[in-house]
Symmetry: C2
Subunit: 382 residues, 2 copies
């Protein structure tokens, strides 16, 4: 029998069969009524998921492209900006902001630390910033912050808040308008359960106003061109029509489940994953609380290289987890539980980790992780 594959990384994530069926349908023309209907429906559903009355701009590309779009449409060369980073994706904000020749003040935490809105406010009192770039869910470490005090700090200092919600949107609470987030950037390949290739962004009236005078060159990622096209359902460039068909199905599934129910499911999956790992005797490197509902990171046991663990799981057992990135390479492994996941995905991941660690000669507590995870998942229904 062919080896089964289990994709358990924090992105891309598995797409439901209904979504795969949609992306495998024949190509349709992007200016015809079939696509226009899909386009309108998915743009409407995106607004529900972002919880905004603003237009959600939909681009072909990756989440990093939407991040660049935010920088290109908000900043002019020389603009002072503040980047808050505590991991791989925070660093990406800094790299993009520098590529656009902004003056980057980099509030840089060690990977895995939890950024503080108080630090941001203090930093903004020292030096103003046209925009503050930060990360909702830092996929490289498993840290999820509450964006609200960060956005408030930016607003009080007269700056725009720009948030990377690529791995968080649809998994943990995010309320664009109610929380006063100026720009929220995301991608389809995480909790939106769609094969990669779509990115999206929404902007507040203040951000739109800024974009009108921002002096960075842009064409593909230009907000105004995209908004104009969307207003008449006439995409400014050929969109990935089949991926949009998949996204539309996925968004329908997410909204049918209900956003609050999806958030609760992710919280419970996080709890199950943490309790199972701890029962095995492993130390978590992501926070051990309900904020950590997107990806769970754990340290490899003493003497075990986490890269080796990840490779063994992938190559011998068909289970793909994520390794540590950057500073955490070789030290941690990460289990994504974003999107199309249920508790049996968690128990599979835990069983596989237990098996592989034993194979690597690590001393772990055997036979308890799965039942502890089920218990943690169940108890949280009460």
């Amino acid at each position: 029998m062919a080896e089964k594959r289990y994709l358990m990384t924090p992105g891309p994530t598995p797409a439901p069969p209904e979504v795969l069926a949609a992306v495998g349908q024949p190509v349709i023309h992007h200016r015809g009524p079939d696509f226009r209907q899909l386009y309108a429906e998915s743009l409407g559903r995106l607004r529900e998921v972002f919880r905004t009355v603003q237009e959600v701009l939909l681009f072909g590309g990756s989440g990093s492209g939407a991040m660049e779009s935010a920088v290109a449409n908000l900043c002019s060369p020389g603009d002072p900006v503040l980047v808050v980073s505590a991991g791989y994706f925070g660093e990406r904000w800094a790299a993009i902001a520098r590529a656009y020749a902004t003056e980057v003040d980099h509030l840089r935490y060690a990977w895995g630390e939890i950024p503080s809105a108080g630090d941001v406010a203090a930093r903004l009192r020292e030096r103003e910033a046209a925009a503050v770039f930060f990360t909702h869910s830092e996929t490289s470490t498993g840290v999820v912050i509450d964006p609200q005090p960060f956005a408030a700090a930016a607003r009080e200092a007269g700056g725009l808040s720009v948030i990377d919600a690529v791995s968080s949107l649809g998994a943990v609470p995010l309320d664009t308008d109610a929380w006063g987030l100026d720009v929220v950037v995301s991608g389809a390949q995480k909790a939106l359960m769609t094969p990669p290739g779509l990115a999206m962004l929404t902007a507040s009236p203040a951000a739109w106003e800024r974009s009108a005078s921002a002096g960075s060159p842009r064409y593909y990622w230009d907000w105004e061109r995209t908004r104009k096209g969307q207003a008449t359902l006439d995409a400014p460039v050929t969109p990935p029509v089949t991926l949009v068909a998949g996204l539309n199905v996925a968004l329908g599934m997410l909204l049918d489940e209900g956003l609050e129910a999806a958030f609760e499911r992710h919280r419970r999956l996080g709890r199950a994953c943490r309790e199972g790992l701890k029962a095995m005797g492993l130390e978590l490197s992501s926070p051990d609380d309900d904020s950590s509902a997107v990806v769970t990171a754990a340290r490899a046991p003493e003497g075990i290289d986490s890269d080796e663990l990840v490779l063994l799981l992938r190559d011998r057992h068909g289970v793909t987890l994520a390794p540590g990135q950057g500073e955490l390479k070789g030290k941690i492994f990460r289990i994504g539980h974003i999107g199309y996941y249920d508790v049996f995905d968690i128990t599979t991941a835990l069983a596989a980790v237990e098996l592989a660690l034993v194979e690597l000669g690590a001393e772990v507590e055997r036979g308890v992780a799965v039942s502890r995870a089920l218990e943690a998942f169940e108890h949280t229904t009460v």
Copy 2:
């Protein structure tokens, strides 16, 4: 019975069932061995299709994104550039070049005119240009030029040649290295028979050298980052993995057919389409010769609005042709014959046009288009 749909536009084009099956497969991780193999194979196949020894850079996005990538990686603000345009996509080069604050000299022909390399050379004697942007196959008009004298004119004047080959690559001859083309830009959704969402580009050593000093900001479309990632099969951002799987299958099909055989097929499809339309009594607006192998454009008969014809075909008969764009709106309709097309697609398109024109009250020669098309297609095999 549900109405069958026929996609006969010059892009996106129908994807073969094998390609659709590939894009509908489960999502795989972009840093695992399954994807790396696909990535390496498709990058290698792209080099064969581009006929280059250089790296072909593969991006998630549309062809326009790859066009922007060329401008962003070659130009600094204020650089003098020459844009040659004779239709919708030539105008796009001008729009992107202006968005990047280059000094655009715009050699602008009426839509449907055939640009002359002599004009380009003369223009470059008047004013030098860091780069010359032109269009191999102008999808809006059906005009396909021979890029060689244009590239030679640019080279003689010390400028880089940058060619939009989005709708031409894989359909008509293009020999990147032998023809000395500095930058060739394309997309997967035309003759490469893949659902939209992938763009690609190749650059000559001279273009790479220029890119090292070009001062325009870029991140997502940056060549060097992309090349570095591709060198280790470690994509710089999450690529549209399922679309790459589809592209790989499509490229395999194209190379199995053979590029020369594919070019000959497109030439014959063009002939069949032209002869059928003329037999019906219609006037071509694309050139009536073998250069015109990508899309055939014809004028609507006197008194008929071509938009009305296209809408009737689409909404009553399920056949999607392309309308006239810009200056040609309402005047012409276009039949794409790019990629996954054979002669029966042409006869279907002709039969549908005949039917719809009769329904609109036009006087057309009936019952001859299909047989004339078959005859033209057959005769060309001799």
